[in-house]
Symmetry: D3
Subunit: 279 residues, 6 copies
Amino acid sequence: MPDIHQQTIHDNVSRALAEDIGSGDCTASLIPENTQMTTRVIARENAILAGTEWFNAAFQTLNSKIDIRWFAGDGDEIKPDQELCRLTGPARSILSAERTGLNFLQSLSATATLAGAFVTAVSGTSAKILDTRKTIPGLRVAQKYAVSCGGALNHRVGLFDAILIKENHISAAGSITKAIQMAAELYPQLLLEVEVENMAELAEAVTTNAQRALLDNFPIELLRQAVNRYSGRIELEASGGVNLQTVRAIAETGVDYISVGEITKNIKAIDFSMRFIQD
Amino acid sequence: MPDIHQQTIHDNVSRALAEDIGSGDCTASLIPENTQMTTRVIARENAILAGTEWFNAAFQTLNSKIDIRWFAGDGDEIKPDQELCRLTGPARSILSAERTGLNFLQSLSATATLAGAFVTAVSGTSAKILDTRKTIPGLRVAQKYAVSCGGALNHRVGLFDAILIKENHISAAGSITKAIQMAAELYPQLLLEVEVENMAELAEAVTTNAQRALLDNFPIELLRQAVNRYSGRIELEASGGVNLQTVRAIAETGVDYISVGEITKNIKAIDFSMRFIQD
Amino acid sequence: MPDIHQQTIHDNVSRALAEDIGSGDCTASLIPENTQMTTRVIARENAILAGTEWFNAAFQTLNSKIDIRWFAGDGDEIKPDQELCRLTGPARSILSAERTGLNFLQSLSATATLAGAFVTAVSGTSAKILDTRKTIPGLRVAQKYAVSCGGALNHRVGLFDAILIKENHISAAGSITKAIQMAAELYPQLLLEVEVENMAELAEAVTTNAQRALLDNFPIELLRQAVNRYSGRIELEASGGVNLQTVRAIAETGVDYISVGEITKNIKAIDFSMRFIQD
Amino acid sequence: MPDIHQQTIHDNVSRALAEDIGSGDCTASLIPENTQMTTRVIARENAILAGTEWFNAAFQTLNSKIDIRWFAGDGDEIKPDQELCRLTGPARSILSAERTGLNFLQSLSATATLAGAFVTAVSGTSAKILDTRKTIPGLRVAQKYAVSCGGALNHRVGLFDAILIKENHISAAGSITKAIQMAAELYPQLLLEVEVENMAELAEAVTTNAQRALLDNFPIELLRQAVNRYSGRIELEASGGVNLQTVRAIAETGVDYISVGEITKNIKAIDFSMRFIQD
Amino acid sequence: MPDIHQQTIHDNVSRALAEDIGSGDCTASLIPENTQMTTRVIARENAILAGTEWFNAAFQTLNSKIDIRWFAGDGDEIKPDQELCRLTGPARSILSAERTGLNFLQSLSATATLAGAFVTAVSGTSAKILDTRKTIPGLRVAQKYAVSCGGALNHRVGLFDAILIKENHISAAGSITKAIQMAAELYPQLLLEVEVENMAELAEAVTTNAQRALLDNFPIELLRQAVNRYSGRIELEASGGVNLQTVRAIAETGVDYISVGEITKNIKAIDFSMRFIQD
Amino acid sequence: MPDIHQQTIHDNVSRALAEDIGSGDCTASLIPENTQMTTRVIARENAILAGTEWFNAAFQTLNSKIDIRWFAGDGDEIKPDQELCRLTGPARSILSAERTGLNFLQSLSATATLAGAFVTAVSGTSAKILDTRKTIPGLRVAQKYAVSCGGALNHRVGLFDAILIKENHISAAGSITKAIQMAAELYPQLLLEVEVENMAELAEAVTTNAQRALLDNFPIELLRQAVNRYSGRIELEASGGVNLQTVRAIAETGVDYISVGEITKNIKAIDFSMRFIQD
């Protein structure tokens, strides 16, 4: 798994704590101040785990005295009833952070699990699964991390770290060739990819120094033709209409990459429960 | 729809723009600086619209000269191919903000639409649908707003604006009665709700001045008994195992409220497309 | 005392340190870098202590090596010449944080002490003292905490955690009944209180499902009538013209709550001194 | 009145709005969205006005369409029943910002009024009234501005913009002379003031290039001696035990400055009311 | 010039204003509140202009009523005594923002001018000048923009938007080939560059799918050999010991890129003056 | 060296880390997670060291487990090949923070070294070297600290902590005398300096209670006359056209202070290298 900038985790978590705790946890005062508690997190369905550092930060930002021992790590496949971790510390703080910690775990594991399902669906082919910029606002970096926990790869993080030339850019520049030339000169250090709508545009893209072509909504048959003609001369990425039913057929055309908006724009929260251990 | 604090929208949007644009939109420079553009947003499926103010803010934070005219509003039911709004302004800025604006619209309309489905499922009964604190981290307030666009009601925003007494609080205080008494004295201005696990606990809760009881995972038959015995003496809220298949039967028991985690913890992004109009 | 969100303390304190220290404490360099110091805080008048966590944070944010031992806690009654705490650590940092730490202690103890005076004034009656939203800008949550240290209760924190329907809302909705109905439907999870100007409005309020009525500037005699007629059917809260001279008479009418703006809008700083111990 | 950095006003106000409005103003939705309103602020006691820019910012941050016309300005003496300003604009936003705007006005006018009382008390003498660093945490700059509205002068803002050498610095440096020498060399651009405890220390201070001596808790008689011996050779500032009863006698000793902690550490909120005008 | 994210300008400028104005501009109060002023900025040496948007933001953040008309734009060559722009507006605000505005202009034009000197030095060769991550802390994005104003290109912004494999990575992975393979799999969307120390390492790099090799401190003769053997098979970037004396000889070896730390790590401020026009 | 507010260091460093690391260090994942590393920083030229606390913060913000042992301190003269410090800790984090840490060290040591050169150039005279407000935006306080490491003194930090009356203020007030009087009354606690253009203005300044006169662009001969006539009656500060060639002659005229914009507006980065120690 890639290294995550601690600042991202800190920002995500302190925002989430603030929106849940606001001016103070009113129920906390019902628990005597010095009560200690031990509790464990249990998986309730099959999933790929992601978000343990966000979970930890939710508790430890609130109270550095909470100790958390994990028995599984990000990227691990987990099963129903599996004990994932054990928390020990001041009861008030554990209860105050519980929901925030679980919200991260259930959302990010959802993304990892969905990414993993797509990776599994194409296993044995040479296609690699990529994410997109269709993400939940505010969680871009966290979701991209979860995608990698699921075994898929990250496309560009945003508009700043790779170039994807689209229809509007092409018509403004005059042609695919001119748009790519312009971009290559301005940003020689960035990956240069161009979105093409049909085989003629792809033929032009191959003659430029774009490293990758995004074949948008190409039917299976055309994807296969594109691979036959241009494979090895330019990387080929399929996108559009990709889901768990269609992804295998797309992968079998021989494309290098398949980018899937669904991985990050949908969330089907994974079910976890926190169970308190009687002392 | 309730009034939304502008600060929330501003914070959500500037965070989302920052994560997408980072050090700068590299493709923007391919568009001549003074190019103007007109574009429209089209719905591609049935949904309830939510998030128009976040969408507007994404564009207008980047460039106050972008003009947006809406033909539908938050809370409206929208149909495939319906034109929702029209944007006119500097092309660079419209393209830079496009993804961020759509990400808000697709996520928040997802929540409104799911909330609306639950509301429809219980229509004709007296049960009201509530959301929970199981939300996407960082979007709590925005999602709660989207829930109201879908016609459902908001439960407490966080740990600060209502009291929900749970098992841990009860065992710390010694009994349901003592926990409620303590909370009522400390926070007379907050709604007081208590989670009960069985009919005996509910019987005790009714004798306190809790205004509402949360019946956690009660079977249908027990919910009905609870309504028969205690309706009118305490508000009854069902939760646990609620989904679109089960919610109607739960509503027909006569409970006052049904709280549904799924509404805010899952996202099934609504499909919108932005189409450029040739000048 | 309720649990305070650490983020509030951190925000209050880092803002206060920034405004006092700015680009750096110029006098600190007159003290050799490794000098250690022991110092103690002494009360100089009778008061109720509040703000010890803010005091601690002022010193420990600047230098985590400052050790602070307290001999009294928030909510305790303190006396002239009583030693409250002892600080040991690097002299430069203790001197740099001294004023900020004391400013919190003197302001928050002022609020606790004033709240305590009102609580004492009504002791033996059934009336409870509440604070209001008339607070020092930027210290809302801290002052509400200090109020609870003084033994009084908190009214709503802000516009988001309880509903208080006032004249403008009533005339916009058409009647008290309509305004309450509307609010109850939108926010079933919030306390619903309505401000009434006379006995006729109170009579109407009682027939709604408002939980509390705010009797604004009712003369003593009318308060007594209100209690006689409606006590037990709706909670009664008196406000307006409340001070230490008038509060007992108001309490003796039998109202449930008395809200007092003076507790948080006025500050009569408590006198503390920091005395350095010769090594 | 000095020019105030707009950033300070913006920070003060957005913090105050956030703590009052939180996740949203729940009562706002009771007012129809397009209702316009005219309202006026009335003084209810004699005072010196301060804080009009904070008041404006509270309303206009929330809604830039609120128009505010003032009939008095910061530093003006105002009288009971005097109309101070008139607001016109969207009713929802005016009601949401009302309390925050008034909280600034009542707190800052309190400080200006108290400062003015001390200035009046010493009128005709050559003594000038100064404030101190004993301020309400978070409002340092705003209060210093209010002090100047009341006609008094500002002492240093914090530890960074002037040097006040105290007992600890002197004992660390070895002598008054050495401490002053050290400070003068390090910070030639800052005012250099030294706190003295008795006449011998003052005698030493006069021989240094300190520009001002702070006579801490000197009895009236000693203050007079200090003036007789040293006036014109070093500026003399009295502090300690200053209140409205004692300040005139202190001023008549001939000291140049009197610094008064009470001006900024105490708040006796000025009473304003907002009255709605029927259209 | 590339499009700059407005957030970057806003952040840079508000930080700079805060550090200059702090608790308020004390001299501003010497200028009557309503005084208007016209002033112009004059170049005092040959340079390439950069930073006009930061300059504008410094004035307009403080006071939106300041009007600025430019007669030159970013990237233009300017000459001594050339009038660059004219400002009209409230005198207080113009004087308060003057230094901050000029500080941006003099720093960023310095970078553009130095970048331009390197570009000129290699003109006629095929080598392109790149910047590095050796920048002034806090001004990374602004400096990268200034580099492009000078006609040079930007290398990666930071550690997130391109991969540069160095010695430590290679020894951790076991070999150049393994390190590149690993990186290519993890981040297919990023430019992959590898730093090589000698011809043997370069020979290995060519066999991988790295797109560029950084030849660190290669003597001129070796650079020429590298070009002869590998040009066209991998992009070649020279770095180390590059200055205005050596850069032409390096460029004439035929390398594709030369990266120059000096462009952004050194600042030789350009001299501008602001002259006030008598009305 | 003066004490630096930790908040300044923290703000500077977290901003610099954010701009370098952005969404994550992509190369970090090439290093196995548990690899430890020892590395040392070597000076490559003569310089005065400054910025060690910023360097430490860059590494320790990222990972508190990095241990740093210094063999030299801020203000020390360092030589080529001198080992300055040794770092031990997790390799990933050391490599991620390396560039940011070095960028602070090279920039701030540049300022200290340049300041030191000016101090040396005037040694033996009574003139003291001052910095100005011509600084790199965002690094004002850090650079002022570096100036003091080089043995020079700090002029005012910004517009808030000292008064420098310039031409515009004088013409607005009507005369030097009136401008000074006005400023002295408003801000008795601030140093009062006035900029004069010629001997007549200086003659007037001496009769006021300004403590210092800034002689702007006075020729050497006039500076000498100014010293002869007014030394001891007002502090004399020379500025304009000061560089390492001219500064000694200026100092020998007998002026008290010489302020030098070049010290902080130019940066000639000091060369440091980080060398990894094989285990």
